[in-house]
Symmetry: C2
Subunit: 131 residues, 2 copies
């Protein structure tokens, strides 16, 4: 899917995530954007929904939080499964992709005739610095 021009709200949410060191919850984003006119959670959630749809943002299910995608171009072609390591110490999130895992999961789901729509892989632990 081609990424359309972002609206004003979408741009502000995207910028907040891009400039953040780590993942942000929707309400944290809201707080960051209050100065710029945001008043209600839905303004954030609606923007996030679109950014997720465009593949510019990922949702971290185990944190109820969101991060900017580190390689949005690759997603224009919607390649593959995205996985994350999440450090419990410093909060750092690293996105990665692995074709072997993707193929293995694909084989396993095909074996049970399961039609995959979205795959979540999140690894919680401690990064090198925080070990």
């Amino acid at each position: 899917m081609a990424t359309p021009q972002l609206t004003k709200n979408q741009t502000m949410v995207m910028d907040a995530l891009s400039h953040s060191e780590g993942p942000l919850s929707a309400y944290t984003i809201l707080d960051k954007l209050r100065d710029q006119g945001f008043r209600a959670p839905l303004q954030v959630y609606r923007a996030l929904d679109k950014l997720l749809e465009y593949g510019l943002v990922h949702r971290l299910e185990s944190l109820n939080a969101f991060v900017a995608c580190t390689c949005p171009h690759e997603h224009e072609h919607d390649h593959g499964v995205t996985a994350f390591t999440i450090c419990e110490g410093c909060g750092q999130v690293t996105e990665f992709h692995d074709i072997a895992i993707e193929q293995r999961l694909s084989a396993l789901t095909r074996a049970q005739n399961f039609k995959t729509e979205k795959t979540t892989i999140e690894i919680r632990g401690h990064c090198q610095s925080c070990a």
Copy 2:
């Protein structure tokens, strides 16, 4: 970890999950157990915390819900990563384990010197019947 004798509350929560067709949210469990004396969310969450610790229950991060483990004995030795397929149609959840994925993830995290504590793999989609 050896599983200790469950307390009364833990047993009731475990039974609710075991007898359920699919995953249950904490508040759904609470509602099911009101007749048996449950009054507050914490009663459920505290029981769930222990059941998770004992490996008798899994948390589905993408649903904010819980399921009984389908193979609790294997977990007594704390083998491996648990993965799930989750059908958006009928709600059916299938737990599975795959050593190849586990090894691949292990290699990838070791490469970034990341110390894994918990791995979440959840595949949303449609099962054979609901495709």
